[in-house]
Symmetry: C2
Subunit: 212 residues, 2 copies
């Protein structure tokens, strides 16, 4: 029954959900795989196949009910609940993350911030307390957290990841430019704009005159 779902499929579902939410805001009530596919640069067959891993959500001849499918996807992904998040590292990037208004509306609630710099500890950022990172373990023991965001320098990142994992966290969003090493049952996503740019240059270096 629960046949193994490819990770690529899981990674596409939030994209579908995001598009459906946008369509709903536009007042659309139904959408076909064709239309959704055009919007997302994905073939209609791909969308239908992806969804078919989880059930039958469409109506032949019509398409999918926008709000209905959105609700289903949110349920499948576990987005129909709140998730407790902690942030480690309150440097420039950490500040931006703490103040970013895009997480909360999606159910991701930053409940604690940790930093090793005494100058930051004790502050209140966006109504969230900044703790000494030495207290990370004891805090997480008392206040379970689901997801950890790592925004410390690369040389400290593995250690932070280890502590988060040891404290029971099984999902990590890593901004440090390194590859974290974790047990197989821990989910990790890396965000690195430099890597993204470094792969694009391969494609534009060819016919690039640029130099006037």
């Amino acid at each position: 029954m629960t046949l193994e779902i490819p990770e690529v499929v899981i990674n596409r579902l939030p994209v579908y959900a995001r598009a459906l939410a946008a369509l709903a805001l536009d007042g659309e009530t139904v959408v076909s795989s064709q239309t959704l596919g055009e919007r997302l640069d994905v073939t209609p067959a791909q969308i239908r196949k992806d969804l078919s891993y989880f059930g039958r959500f469409g109506k032949q001849g019509r398409g999918y009910n926008v709000l209905g499918l959105l609700a289903k996807l949110r349920e499948i992904l576990g987005l129909d609940r709140k998730w407790r998040v902690c942030l480690v590292g309150l440097g420039r990037l950490g500040q931006a993350i703490a103040e970013y208004g895009g997480f909360e509306p999606q159910g991701f609630q930053i409940v604690a911030i940790f930093d090793s710099d005494p100058a930051s500890v004790g502050k209140l950022v966006n109504a969230v307390h900044v703790h000494d990172s030495a207290e990370l373990d004891s805090f997480l023991r008392q206040n379970p957290v689901d997801i950890g965001i790592v925004a410390v320098p690369a040389h400290a990142a593995q250690q932070v990841v280890d502590r988060l994992v040891n404290a029971g966290i099984r999902a990590i969003l890593n901004y440090a430019p390194m590859t974290p090493h974790v047990a197989r049952d821990v989910a990790v996503r890396n965000i690195d704009p430099v890597l993204a740019m470094q792969s694009m240059t391969f494609y534009i270096k060819k016919a690039e005159p640029s130099g006037k």
Copy 2:
């Protein structure tokens, strides 16, 4: 000769390069695919296969020369030159990007910033001028730029992307939570931490007690 290189391969090369740079800093002079693979959670065969698309860089019985392979990868990716980058959108995120010190050392030079808010226009951020985004086209005509970073609200992003592409830019790093539509010869990378979290929740929602 130039057999088609899979994009997944290209996306891994910068990761290899980053690891090699770290190894070099540690004073390592040679590395085997085995050792590199352990560090990056990639199979040795994968690394060797990826590299074999481009040539023969290793020595049997020894492995790869760290600096030599790094130089080769940088050449393959086009990282052996400077790239001119412009940033569109100087909100919270744009500020953080403009001040981030991680691009310049990798050869990505932000040469111009654009925003539509008159309050920002004319400012100097990290020694870079902020232009009115109405001047985007005329500026780019006079000052060729290779890569565009989009950090505007989602509803404005497609328009910004179109203007960048029309001005000749063929690589875009998009931070807005939407799927940009571009011609096939334009490279796009999307960065969205919310999507990343929304795919992780699928994996941790199962055995997650959490609720006390």
